[in-house]
């Protein structure tokens, strides 16, 4: 079937990942500055606020370290990275594909034997998964390092007392990676589907982009909830 598609259209089937690499540059490499900057700012805000509250409620900031680390790795890092990617990449993919749809380029492609639904969506999902898996650790690192610096500067907590790596376990890291994979798959999928559903003119392109961002954001939040619940149940021993 792959050979047949290539003979008909001259285009290699996308599950060979070749095309995915093209999208990886746009998705991951170009998003790197955005992720580093926004996660760093968010990390400082979160750490500072947490430290103030810890001082007020408990009387000390040192207890914040382990939980800050766990929340960053399992929650804030992956989720904020994914939300930034939804804004940047999700809307971009939807706009790009919507443009092809409203200009009937996808129809023409299908007339010549191509399968727009598969060939436009799958490479982007590949790129999304790989990109997110690469970017989430970078986002987590930015969030952690900036928060640690903030707490060290304003609350005199040395970094070795704040960065409690030994409090992280395999389940936390698995949680982060599963989220990265799921986010990376769902963001381009939703965006591509929104783009393919566009009907009309320039207005439809805008609506598709907006829909991709909204649906992508809600999907990220619900996937986050689902994975967090499963991990909590695993930790509890209620699952497996």
């Amino acid at each position: 079937m792959a050979a047949q598609t290539k003979r008909k259209t001259g285009v290699k089937p996308p599950w060979l990942v070749g095309q995915g690499w093209l999208h990886l540059d746009h998705l991951a490499v170009s998003s790197l500055p955005l992720i580093v900057v926004t996660l760093s700012l968010a990390g400082v805000a979160f750490a500072r606020e947490g430290a103030i509250q810890a001082q007020m409620i408990i009387g000390t900031v040192e207890v914040l370290g382990p939980e800050y680390m766990r929340l960053t790795v399992t929650e804030m890092g992956p989720v904020i990275t994914a939300l930034m990617l939804t804004m940047r990449v999700g809307s971009g993919i939807a706009a790009e594909i919507a443009n092809l749809t409203v200009s009937q380029a996808t129809t023409a492609y299908q007339v010549f034997g191509g399968r727009a639904q598969r060939d436009l969506v799958i490479p982007r999902i590949w790129a999304g998964v790989v990109g997110c898996v690469l970017l989430v650790p970078i986002g987590v690192a930015s969030f952690l390092l900036s928060g640690t610096l903030a707490v060290a500067l304003w609350f005199d907590v040395p970094q070795e007392e704040f960065l409690f790596f030994r409090h992280l376990d395999g389940l936390d890291l698995m949680c982060a990676m599963v989220k990265a994979v799921l986010f990376g798959a769902v963001i381009p999928f939703i965006a591509a589907r929104a783009g393919l559903a566009a009907r009309g003119g320039s207005g439809a392109v805008g609506q598709a982009s907006a829909k991709a961002v909204v649906h992508g954001t809600v999907a990220v939040l619900f996937i986050d909830l689902l994975v967090a619940t499963v991990v909590a149940m695993l930790r509890d021993g209620r699952l497996g």
Partner: protein
């Protein structure tokens, strides 16, 4: 490396246009009927999706709060954790990012479409100023809708979080509600609302600016939405950072 260095200027690059547009809006009286229409469009039509997102946020807070109760036997702190996270910290940030998509992207899409199809030029050709007719109503409606929608999201988050924590951790509802009441200060609500208002204003300003910059065809509309979504998200994260020093 150059990209990373350029990235450091991202917040400034996005927030300066917002400040310029805000200055232009000073003294402009928005068309009342248009503002009501946009309020319904941005606010009322977003309620369901905000409730859904609020429930998701509440559920996430509940999962983590229940973990603290289990790990540290800190039942008395669960109420504080839920209140703090949903009202003051995580709730406003995640709701703001949702609004960046729901309101910001939509606003930019509509304005960009109006721009490329000369609807705004049509007003100018008749000597009508688009500022009070098209621009100001959208910015004000986005800001007002943002504050109102945060309240909706906060209620949804709180209810979900309370139900989630009491179900998952075995804490009884009434004692938990007392701990929520004792641990949560009214300032959390005010800070959350203030943050939501600031975030919503930033979303309104940046999405309006990006929408009005569109020129060309349908690809320009897509670019405007993309820029608006990214700009709004960066603006919110930056404002959240600044708010830690103010509130």
């Amino acid at each position: 490396m150059v990209n990373l260095l350029n990235g450091l200027f991202i917040p400034i690059r996005w927030l300066l246009p917002a400040a310029r547009l805000l200055r232009r809006l000073v003294g402009v009286r928005p068309d009342f009927r248009e503002t009501i229409y946009q309020l319904e469009h941005f606010g009322y039509q977003s309620i369901l999706i905000v409730i859904a997102a609020g429930c998701a946020v509440g559920g996430i807070v509940a999962v983590h709060a229940a973990t603290y109760v289990a790990n540290y036997s800190a039942g008395e702190l669960a109420g504080w954790a839920v209140g703090y996270a949903t009202l003051r910290e995580v709730g406003p940030l995640l709701t703001g990012l949702l609004l960046a998509g729901r309101v910001g992207a939509m606003n930019a899409a509509e304005l960009a479409d109006m721009r490329v199809r000369d609807q705004i030029r049509g007003l100018e050709a008749l000597g009508l100023d688009p500022m009070p007719i098209v621009i100001a109503p959208r910015v004000y409606a986005a800001a007002i809708a943002g504050v109102a929608l945060f309240s909706v999201a906060a209620i949804a988050s709180l209810v979900t979080a309370v139900l989630g924590v009491t179900t998952a951790s075995g804490l009884k509802l009434m004692p938990f509600l007392y701990s929520l009441h004792d641990g949560t200060s009214l300032s959390y609500l005010f800070v959350g609302q203030a943050k939501a208002g600031i975030f919503a204003l930033i979303v309104g300003l940046l999405s309006t600016h990006e929408g009005l910059q569109a020129s060309g065809g349908s690809s320009a509309v897509g670019r405007a939405v993309n820029n608006a979504a990214v700009a709004s998200a960066v603006g919110i994260v930056t404002a959240n950072f600044a708010c830690t020093w103010v509130f």
